[in-house]
Each structure stands twice: as structure tokens, then as C-alpha cells.
């Protein structure tokens, strides 16, 4: 059933008229043109579709459009601010944590959400924090390096976060 759904997307209010049972990932990609959020497995197992919902990491492929109503949604397109990369994104670039790039948006979102909860993690905690995000290229070590590096940047009182 078509419905008007209002929420905040990357800091701006949006209204979409769509079927309530459509998946959030499809609304974001197809209706709003934000194709940074990827669909990998489509069943909540790979983390590629991760978004922040009121600052909490959730999976947009197993979320309905109706559940977006009234929420504050941040996708990979809204992580950085004023044309600047978020410290997590910068660390991913600097530490070579990206190869094919398909998992990267979900990985960055998961890392941003995780570092809000745990600003000074051990490597083991980073592994657990990103354990729902699958990467088939990097072997993860450089991703963990990047998150460790980003944590230090964020703790250093730099921009973003």
C-alpha cells in the first residue's frame, strides 16, 4: 500500500511516497538515488547494506520502508561533512583498506557506529565489532588497521565523529 513516509536523510528532511513493504535499501537506492548503500546477500548476513538509524547500525535489506518513518537515517553519502571525508573514510584510504570497494560503504558505516560505542577498542574488539561485514578482497587486516587508525584520529579531537 502506497504511503507517504517522512524521515531525516543525511541531515535533511525527506518525504517519499512508496509501498510500505518495500525494502529500505531499495527506497534509498532507487527512489532517492543514493547508490552508495549496497545490496550484497539480501538476507542480512553480509553487512553491505548497513545504514545508521538514529545512530545505530542496522541492515537496510531486511528493513521495510515503513520503518524509516520519523527516523534519522545516515548512509555512506552522509558520513562525511562539508565535502570532507569522515576520519574513518580517510583512514580506509590511507591504510589501503579498500580493494574492489563493494563492502566499503557498509564497512565504514559499521565502523562509525562501532567507534561511537567503543572509542578506544582493541584489535580483537574491532574484529567483533565488524564481524557482520564480509569482505572478499582484503583479508580484513588493513580494514582493522584503518579502524584502529580512525579511532586514534577521533580520540585526538579531530574533525568529524
Amino acid at each position: 500500500m502506497k504511503r507517504k513516509i517522512s524521515f531525516t536523510l543525511n541531515g535533511s528532511p525527506v518525504v517519499v511516497e512508496t509501498d510500505a513493504a518495500r525494502r529500505a535499501v531499495d527506497v534509498l537506492r532507487e527512489d532517492l538515488g543514493l547508490t552508495g548503500t549496497k545490496e550484497g546477500c539480501g538476507s542480512g548476513e553480509c553487512g553491505a547494506c548497513s545504514i545508521l538509524v538514529d545512530d545505530v547500525v542496522k541492515l537496510s535489506c531486511i528493513m521495510t520502508a515503513a520503518q524509516l518513518e520519523g527516523r534519522r537515517i545516515v548512509t555512506i553519502e552522509g558520513v562525511g561533512q562539508d565535502g570532507e571525508l569522515h576520519p574513518v573514510q580517510r583512514s580506509f584510504v590511507e591504510r589501503g583498506a579498500i580493494q574492489c570497494g563493494f563492502c566499503t560503504p557498509g564497512m565504514v558505516i559499521a565502523a562509525v557506529g562501532f567507534l561511537k560505542e567503543n572509542p578506544d577498542p582493541t584489535r580483537e574488539e574491532i574484529r567483533a565489532g565488524l564481524s557482520g561485514n564480509i569482505c572478499r578482497c582484503t583479508g580484513y587486516e588493513k580494514i582493522i588497521d584503518a579502524v584502529e587508525d580512525a579511532a586514534a584520529k577521533l580520540r585526538g579531537g579531530g574533525s568529524g565523529g
Binding site: A20, G47, V56, V57, I62, M63, T64, A66, Q67
Partner: protein, 282 residues
Amino acid sequence: MADVHVPSSLDEVFRLLSDEPSATLFAGGTDVMVRSSPDMRERGPFLCLERVEELRGIHGSATEVRIGAATTLSEVIASPVIADLFPLLREALRHVGAPAVRNMGTLGGNICTASPAGDSLPPLYILGAEVELRSLKGRRRMPIDAFITGPGRTQLEEGEVLCAVVIGKEQGFNFHHFEKVGQRKAMAISVASLAFGAETRRDGTIVKARCAFGSVAPTVFTSRLLNDTFAGNTLNTAVLDRAVAIIREGVSPISDIRASMEYRRQVAGNLVMRLEGAGKDR
């Protein structure tokens, strides 16, 4: 396409349910949204419980703790009350999926899905948890082992909603243990899991113990004979050998894509062997 209602009060839930008794209820969506076929998505309707105020949060009374059914697994894990009173439950929930799944999935959802592999279930059986069910006809409470009747089957009736899980504060366990065997550490469905709670003396002698296994039977496997085997003994080799025999005899696992029946039976016994020497000096 189907409609999805996201009510914020229980009154609204019951009103929607009386208009559309066939609605599919869900909270986090981590099971229902994965299982629902395109056809189901066409027909609906769906009723999402994630914002129902009465179903959220953890509240304690003098004798009990009430966990709202739509409280997410992450919220249960983060609760100081749960960490203090029911560390066994917390430990088991930490093994469910990965952070985003735990941020969405709820305790009530894990119970209503009634999967033989539901990781919250073995600890809830050990803690003697009860479920609170409400409908327009009233409310009722029953022990979790009576509520779950088979794989994916519960006593939940049409028009009824699982509102809360209630656990007695006084458990008397000073030793607890949870271990899950899966194909990997994260995002794994249990191949076999063990929850164990015991009251032990300083020398490790067990006063009383409760054992519950996941993924090795149609519902959680418990056995009075097994629990009684531990009483009055330490967790020594002879006692554990007896326990292993009872477990391997009692479980009724299936073979599926994750593991064979034989492997599950073997692992269920092995999980208990790892308790050897535990529970002393506490």
C-alpha cells in the same frame, strides 16, 4: 504491495489485529523479513512491533525482572541489571549474529521464532523464564518450556502478542557457562550449544545444576536425570562421563546443511566435558 503497520501502543496493536487477524507480526525483522517470500510481501499485511512502548525496556520489581519483548538483543546485552543478575543470558546473546543483527533482533522475536537453534532459549530455560502473553481477552503467563512446543511452533494464539519475558531475580547460581559451536564465530547459526548454571560449594561440589542444549533436538534439550547427575559431585571425569552418556542418549538432532546428526550428538557430549574442573574456589 502489502501494508506495514508500525504502531506505537499496545491498544493500537490490538485494534489493528482485530481488523486484520491474519497480519504477520514481527519486531526486528531479522527472521520474518528474511523468510518472507515475494508473494507474502505482496499479500501482507505486516505489523511491526519495534516501537510499541509497552513492549520496550527492562524493568525490575522486588522479585522479578521484566524484559519487554521488543527490547533488542543489544539493549539486553548492554543492561547493567542483566549483566549483574543473569550473566548467562548476556553471554548467550553475545553469540547471536553480529552487531547489526543484535541491534535489530529482539528477545521476544528470538522466542516466537522458536528455532531449535535460538541462542536465547537455553539460558532462558535454565533461568526458569516465563512469557507474558496479552490479547483483548486478557493476559496469561506460562513457563517458556511450555510456550515453545516444537520447531517454529508456540502456544501463541491468534490475536495474542508476546509482551514480555519475566525472570525471577533469585537464581542461586554462582557458576555459569555458555558455549556455542557454529561454523564460524560471527553470523553463525548454532550447530550445538550448551548453557549451564550451578550452585557450587567452595571445593567445587555442586549443590544443584541445570543444563540446557540448543540445536540438538526439536526444542531445547533438558533432562532432570542429567541435572541430578551433577548434584553432590564435583565436575570430575567420572561424573562428566555419566553426563555425556545421558546427553548422547537423550538428544535427538537432525542432519542439515550445517552439520550431521552424528556430529551434533558427539559435540553435545563434548561441550559438557569441557566443564571438567570448573566451578571451584568460587
